[in-house]
Symmetry: C2
């Protein structure tokens, strides 16, 4: 499961709590790669401990509730390195809009265009989110190795949105010219 390995990767960057993972990773950049909710994160942490891939230390805090800080064990590090080299299957995409459009011939043009316009808004918002993430450009020679990797990932996310946006615009044009019924 990739979520487990994503968490392993994040904990290898630095030790964190479940709360940290949620608020500073899975609510931020990682949300674009592998969204995960809080319940799943805490449960996956439990599984990783069971597996022996991470270990937990309770940090007592005076001013706030105590934290369970997790860090990667030697065996966890080995597992991550192993997994990082395994070829993974293509992701499965299930896009409700495509199903709608596939059967949209029975809708009036205006209704179809409304669907596409709404997606266009949502996609533009997502593109803006991705473009707001600050990372050195691919041609920036001062970028560290991990920044290059992260920028590369971000570039796909951005390109993906741009492709979708272009396609939506084409779709709107095409439908506008269609004879109804």
């Amino acid at each position: 499961m990739s979520l487990a390995h994503a968490i392993l990767g994040l904990l290898q960057q630095e030790e964190r709590t479940g709360y940290d993972l949620k608020t500073s990773c899975f609510n931020q950049t990682v949300a674009h790669l592998w969204p995960a909710d809080q319940a799943q994160i805490y449960r996956t942490l439990d599984k990783l401990v069971e597996q022996g891939w991470i270990s937990c230390t309770v940090k007592i805090q005076r001013d706030r509730p105590n934290r369970k800080v997790y860090s990667v064990t030697a065996s966890g590090k080995a597992e991550l390195t192993r997994w990082l080299q395994c070829s993974q299957p293509l992701p499965i995409v299930r896009d409700p809009l495509l199903i709608q459009l596939y059967f949209a011939d029975q809708l009036p043009n205006a209704a179809i265009i409304q669907l596409l316009e709404q997606q266009l808004i949502a996609r533009r918002e997502k593109l803006a989110e991705c473009e707001n993430i600050e990372l050195p450009m691919l041609n920036d020679k001062s970028a560290s190795r991990d920044q290059v990797m992260q920028r590369l990932v971000l570039e796909l996310a951005i390109q993906r949105e741009k492709t979708y946006i272009d396609w939506l615009k084409t779709g709107i044009d095409i439908i506008s010219c269609q004879k109804e019924e």
Copy 2:
């Protein structure tokens, strides 16, 4: 759930059995929009009958096992029309390769490139599959309304693969030039 509505749409095109849905829809074009396995299809058919959106007639066959043929009811047709006009959320994409790349700074360049090369092969295969689907082009004026919709959907699938392929090529170039460690 979109699977239910996809099935509703397919049954509105013509009455079909679970087997038909699997072999001539979910193994073919629809596989690129909304993959579904056989167990899920049959179970969803049961749910749709319970809802009263489709009805079932058993067709006795002499030469082959009997078929349960499903067709859309009036209430099913209404439900489909309703659903087709509801704005749907953006699909959630979880791509394991992006997680790998995000943490790939600890891998040697050759290992990263191997990951990307393998995805490139898989993506090219998928692109070829999409391009093999026969549908009139968007500028073809003899195309029927439903063919236009289906071509539009296919165009996104194709563009999506092309975007991914371009990105993979860029990625391979960038990683090749990276200093290791």
